[in-house]
Chain length 325, copies 2
Amino acid sequence: MSTISDVAARAGVSTATVSRALNGKANVDPELAARVRQAATELGYQPNGPARNLRRQEAAVVALIISDVENPFFTAIARGVEDVAHEVGYSVVLCNSDENADKENRYIDIAIQERVAGVILSPSGPAAGVAKLAARGTAYVAVDRPLPDRDSDVVLVDTRLAAAQATAHLVAQGYERIGCITGPAGVRTADDRLAGYRDTVKTTKNLVRRSEYKAAGAHRAAASLLSQPNPPDALLVANNAMAVGVLRALQELNLRPGRDVGVVAFDDAPWAELLDPPLTVVAQPAYEIGTEAARLLLARIADNTRPPTVTTLGARLIERASSHR
Amino acid sequence: MSTISDVAARAGVSTATVSRALNGKANVDPELAARVRQAATELGYQPNGPARNLRRQEAAVVALIISDVENPFFTAIARGVEDVAHEVGYSVVLCNSDENADKENRYIDIAIQERVAGVILSPSGPAAGVAKLAARGTAYVAVDRPLPDRDSDVVLVDTRLAAAQATAHLVAQGYERIGCITGPAGVRTADDRLAGYRDTVKTTKNLVRRSEYKAAGAHRAAASLLSQPNPPDALLVANNAMAVGVLRALQELNLRPGRDVGVVAFDDAPWAELLDPPLTVVAQPAYEIGTEAARLLLARIADNTRPPTVTTLGARLIERASSHR
DNA sequence: CTGAAAGCGCTAACAA
DNA sequence: TTGTTAGCGCTTTCAG
């Protein structure tokens, strides 16, 4: 593995000149620069990242810590982040925290140790790790959920409003006992979606269930809700994975979405239209969350003293037949 | 940001001792070690990764370069890799090459520059970048597709056999003009799936289409196939995203899967069962591909002289109604 | 068992 | 414009 001094020797210049030439710094004689580049190519020179990062005290890398790699909502965010970061020469590393505070903290530690320039994360709860980022002055921004007890840049979706509108849509369609299946208490998006639902239907009845943001939990929740003496005739479901569980429960009970039980779920998916009946969804602007978060992070890397901002994006109800009688 | 010398000073020992204590090396007085750990905690010491990696000439990180973060097949692989790597103290960084040779090469360069211990990748073609890994002696293993012109450890699925079996299943169900929609020529999985199809149905008719491994391309392909004078009565579809496009085309033409056109697609998905009729699929053992690849990579990191191995896993046909008349 | 010190490869003062 | 040189923070001989 050749080093900068090999290149310098071959080009007949000093290592400083090689460094300057290869990093496109001004004030290098074009002819020397050419010689340096040639020597570098001939040797197959690859700069030593750790050495560079050690010297610069920072790596041109941003870490993106998301709570579920298998959730298309988060992977779409990842694309948004990547596209913006790459434009300005940053690499993105994706870390999967799996909704698990330990893993999240572990990845935050790694990010700190590797001296990444910044971190974007979807916090899985009141994360102790984030305090470390703040303490070290590492730039970070939260997406999808705000950080409790901490103000930072954050990019959110107005999910409470979206939930309220989705519920209103079900009301408008003539459903009368609307239930809600949402995520765990304490997870902000789960609480907000429930709050939006309650903004629209004031009900004291037992029409709400919570579970993990997963299909299995939602399946149980739906089964329990629908087997009650006085079951709901419509359901607001708080994410995509949960929708799968709910729809499966409906199938098992021989209930047809739309006709028997109106269904609206958060997050659009390519297959939502393929269902019979097609699934009504609240589409969140995931890609834009990513691009916006990346832009904020870059701005904060450049200047960590700027006041924290809250960016709220809107969601869009896409009406399909699962919410029509 | 405190350094190892801060810790050393506070514990009243040398930096060498701190290093030894914190890295769990033998031969450190337990009492000193305790003092060191305490000092480290009090200072919130986080080792400087770049410095450590520079010195060690290697980072305890493996890079996973996949061709599509939004494809559940690859994210399942990612989980497999993570689970194995974490067990032995390696971190995993996920890079999304987007089926794009430039991005892939770029990520390979980054992996080399950052001196990662190894690379797992799903090659998007004859990648020049891989030669650099080999030249540098960085361990790597290919998943899903072998590397042309290069023998390395590789973890594959016997996708040709699986395609042949899936096609045979369609034949057994009484379909008589079976078509195939597969990925781009030159992509090994696409070619293999087509070959498996041809192993079963010897046809000279115009029943094959290729497109990107995406919904849009498959949609066009299906539309073109089905609007022929003598259209197919069944379709083998080479991946999950494509299945979405094909099913959409069927919907538009008012053709019902199973009854009108038999459909089998590669890759299972949680929503496959929700469709009406449910989708018959060839389920690939994605998670196991990941765990196996990680194990091979670890072995190769330990000993790069071992002969390359080819691991082939089987796929499983899951029969559902879309392939029943 | 512990400490002193060299040096990994690079960049950025500082000099020339 | 170019070169010389001093570290960045860590691990690891080598002495003690």
